[in-house]
């Protein structure tokens, strides 16, 4: 059965990607995962200069999930091109570079450096990181700023341009429509929710930054609901993310209106998750006599 999914000019071999920040630069999981089972790798966020990231601790487990305060730690665009891209370019899956910056110019800077490189299939614009002071959330919660940024980036590339939306907003459809207006090929829905854990004995938040990003199955119903609303508000494809642990979880997103999905922190718990989800979607499609993955969404009653 053909599991191909089209996102703008890009065709993914299957609808299951691995989410930015949970899969490094791909090579980290090479010995555990057959990358040919994955539709797309969304890289760790790439910024113009290397970032050391936030102070420790950076991880705390929560009920059915985890809170992170990584702070976009990454090697920067130059080292990415030199040291990380060659592996990704040779991998059998689509490579989607997650791009982040402190202001509009930084996003442009990263994309201008990446655009002439081979082996990149698309970009996911990160306007939704809850763990940085600039760029992240402030940008992603202002529809006018989103449109303006996407419009500038659209002029730089003909490759797939995806905008990753934040759930930390009153009306996520406004942000999705803003991305579509700017010329985005798709939206990813959703980035992590803000969350906080307080150490009661120490009487202070566990994270130095206080608030972190919540992910895992705890946020799945939020992601499904937002995917449902966004997919009815825009005509571009929606990529569903949030708490997918198995094929049925992914199918909830597809039924809600997503064209593809990303597996995030579930890969930490079980690296075989992306392959299992892929196989389960295929089995469902065959059972339901779908001719393509896009048919799944039409099954929702």
């Amino acid at each position: 059965m053909d599991l191909n999914v089209k996102i703008g000019p890009m065709t993914l071999r299957n609808p299951v990607g691995v989410a930015s920040g949970t899969f490094g630069y791909g090579s980290e999981y090479e010995s555990l995962i057959d990358l040919s089972a994955i539709g797309a790798i969304y890289t760790k966020a790439i910024t113009p200069a290397p970032r050391h990231g936030n102070d420790v601790p950076r991880i705390v487990e929560t009920p059915s999930g985890m809170l992170n305060s990584i702070g976009l730690a990454n090697v920067g665009v130059e080292r990415f091109i030199r040291e990380k891209l060659p592996f990704l370019a040779a991998s059998p899956c689509a490579v989607i570079c997650n791009v982040a910056g402190a202001d509009e110019d930084e996003y442009v800077q990263v994309m201008e450096r990446l655009e002439p490189q081979g082996g990149i299939d698309g970009y996911e614009i990160n306007v939704s990181c809850p763990n940085v002071k600039h760029g992240g959330l402030a940008l992603g919660t202002d529809p006018a700023l989103i449109t303006c940024l996407v419009r500038r980036l659209r002029q730089l590339t003909k490759k797939a341009l995806i905008v990753k939306l934040t759930p930390n907003i009153t009306d996520i459809t406004a942000a999705a429509i803003a991305a579509e207006d700017g010329g985005a090929d798709a939206v990813s829905c959703i980035n992590s929710l803000i969350g906080m854990v307080i150490d009661v004995r120490a009487k202070q938040p566990v994270f130095r930054a206080g608030i972190g990003g919540l992910s895992g199955p705890a946020i799945r119903p939020v992601g499904v609901a937002m995917t449902y609303r966004v997919s009815r508000a825009v005509s571009i494809p929606v990529i569903g993310i949030g708490g997918i642990m198995c094929a049925d979880d992914a199918l909830q997103y597809l039924l809600a209106g997503a064209s593809a999905v990303q597996i995030g922190s579930a890969t930490f718990a079980d690296p075989s998750t992306p392959a299992r989800v892929r196989d389960g979607i295929e089995a469902f499609c065959i059972e339901e006599k779908c001719t393509c993955v896009d048919d799944v969404r039409r099954l929702l009653r």
């Binding site: 490094g24 050391h52 930490f268």
Partner: protein, 262 residues
Amino acid sequence: MKQFRASIVSNRPVSDDFHAIEFTWPSAAGIPAPGQFFTVRVSDGTVPFLRRPFAFSGFDGAGHIASAIYKRRGRGTEILAAKKEGETLDVIGPSGNPFMLPAPNCTPVLAAGGIGLGPVLFLARVLHDAGRRAVFAAGFRTAMDIVDKTLFGQSAVTLCTDDGSEGFKGTTVDYIRQYLERADSVSRTAMVMYACGPMAMLKGCHETAQRFGVTCYVSVEQVMACGVGACMGCVVKAAGGNGYVRVCSDGPVFNSRDIEWI
């Protein structure tokens, strides 16, 4: 590093707080070395959500059995402790970098504290089997906390208790400091330290090693998410303001000079 289902061979308490587990280890997964670790998904559900990392405390290559000593200190380890012989485990390993073994002319000086017992015990056994003489101090709060002594096998160990209720009175750091003070400067230059335990103890080992000009390797613990170097979650500060290093993939064993001790 491979993911596989292991079968539990034994899983028993070895003190009030500690358990020792043995499980099958397929040769296709590679050979674990002292200092390396594995991760376990203790529940098929979503609570606890993350895998739990454990350092190897031994590996029987002939019997294909790996072992670990762990402290019961939360939901994950309580679930693991309740598992019985014959049950299976979702295991990933061997992960991380092992202790660099001492050069033939070097005297290894080993320190283990609390949760750090496993990897140091493994190293002591490997050194013993290679016919190497090692100084080995294992620290506990009191005599009551000392684990089942059969775990030490034939390794010559000096037990240290904070209250002196058994063995040397004081911490492993106290013991090693005194040992180094007694040694002459020539033999000190041929010593190399290996330590695993709480951060405060590792810091003490580092400072002692620095004072006597001895190289010191420490195995560090940190909360992990991915365990393979992808998520940047399990970092500790690198020395010299040089950012962070990942415990899971840059470590867990570091030269103590490469870490910033706060």
